[in-house]
C-alpha cells in the first residue's frame, strides 16, 4: 500500500522533465494560434459588417464557439486538446468543447436527461460563478454610484 502523497512523488519522479516543457510549449503555441484566428474573425467582421465594436466582439465570440463546437463534434478538438492542454481549454472554444463533449458522451442516455442535462457539467459552474460575480460587481458599482 502506498498513500496518496508518496504516489504523487513517484509520479513526479517518473514524469520526464522534457514532457512538462513540451506541454508548456504546446499550450503557448496552440493557445496563441487560436487567439490569432479569433482576431482574424474579428477583423473580417469589423471590415465587412456595419456594426459597432461590441456587436462585432460578440459575433466573434459566437463564431469561435461555433468552431469549437463543430470541431468537437467531428472529433478534431479533443485530438488538438491531447497536445494543447490549457491551450485548447482556456480559449472560448474550450468552453464550447466543455459543453459539446459531455453532451455527445451522454447522448445515449436520452435527449433530455442525457444530452440536455449533461451539457452543463463543466459549463454550469462557469455560468453560475460568472453570473453571480457579475451581479456582485453590478451591486457594488450601483451602491458606490448612489453614495457618490
Amino acid at each position: 500500500m502506498i498513500d496518496a502523497k508518496s504516489y504523487a512523488e513517484i509520479v513526479k519522479e517518473a514524469t520526464p522533465k522534457t514532457q512538462e516543457a513540451r506541454t508548456l510549449f504546446a499550450a503557448f503555441g496552440i493557445g496563441g494560434v487560436i487567439c490569432m484566428i479569433g482576431q482574424a474573425v474579428f477583423d473580417v467582421y469589423a471590415q465587412f459588417l456595419n456594426a459597432d465594436e461590441k456587436t462585432v466582439s460578440a459575433l466573434t465570440g459566437m463564431t469561435m464557439i461555433f468552431f469549437g463546437a463543430l470541431l468537437t463534434g467531428v472529433g478534431v478538438y479533443d485530438k488538438i486538446g491531447y497536445y494543447a492542454g490549457a491551450g485548447s481549454i482556456v480559449p472560448i472554444t474550450g468552453f464550447a468543447n466543455s459543453i459539446v463533449s459531455p453532451a455527445m458522451e451522454f447522448h445515449n442516455e436520452g435527449i433530455v436527461f442525457g444530452l440536455m442535462a449533461r451539457m452543463f457539467g463543466v459549463a454550469g459552474p462557469i455560468i453560475v460563478s460568472g453570473v453571480c460575480s457579475s451581479v456582485a460587481v453590478g451591486i457594488i458599482y450601483y451602491i458606490v454610484g448612489v453614495a457618490a
Binding site: 508548456l24 496563441g32 482576431q39 474579428f42 472529433g75 490549457a86 481549454i89 482556456v90 463543466v122 460568472g130
Partner: protein, 124 residues
C-alpha cells in the same frame, strides 16, 4: 501596413499564448481540472474588469485576452458596470445581457452539434 498587421497579430499570439501558458502551469503544478481552470480565468476576467485594468490590457493584447475565457468574464462585469449607471435592476441583469450572444451560441450550437454527432471513442 504590413508591419502594422504583423505587430498586431504578433501581440495577439504572444498574449494569448501567455494566458494559456499560465493555465498549463496551473494544470502541471496543481493538477487542477479544466472546470476549475475555466472558473479561475473567468473570475480573473471579472476582477480585472471590475478594478478597471482590463481595458488597458485589451488595448494591447486584443484577441489575445478577449478570446481566452477571461474575455467572457470581463464582458459580464462590463455589462454589470454599465447597468449600474441606470439602476439596481440593470446592475443585476446587464451582465448576463452582455454575454447573451455567447451563451445563446454555446447552448444552441452545443445542443445541435451534440444531436448530430455521437461520441465515437467512448461509446462501446
Amino acid at each position: 501596413m504590413v508591419w502594422e498587421i504583423l505587430s498586431r497579430y504578433g501581440r495577439v499570439f504572444l498574449c494569448g499564448g501567455l494566458v494559456c501558458l499560465v493555465g498549463q502551469i496551473l494544470i502541471n503544478k496543481t493538477k487542477m481540472t479544466s472546470a476549475r481552470i475555466l472558473v479561475t480565468f473567468l473570475l480573473a476576467g471579472v476582477v480585472l474588469q471590475a478594478v478597471g485594468l482590463f481595458d488597458a490590457i485589451k488595448e494591447f493584447a486584443l484577441a489575445g485576452v478577449t478570446i481566452p475565457i477571461i474575455g467572457f468574464g470581463s464582458t459580464l462585469a462590463e455589462g454589470a458596470i454599465e447597468g449600474a449607471k441606470i439602476g439596481l435592476f440593470e446592475a443585476c441583469t446587464y451582465g448576463l445581457r452582455a454575454v447573451a450572444g455567447g451563451l445563446t451560441a454555446a447552448i444552441v450550437f452545443g445542443f445541435v452539434i451534440a444531436l448530430l454527432f455521437r461520441s465515437r471513442s467512448k461509446t462501446a
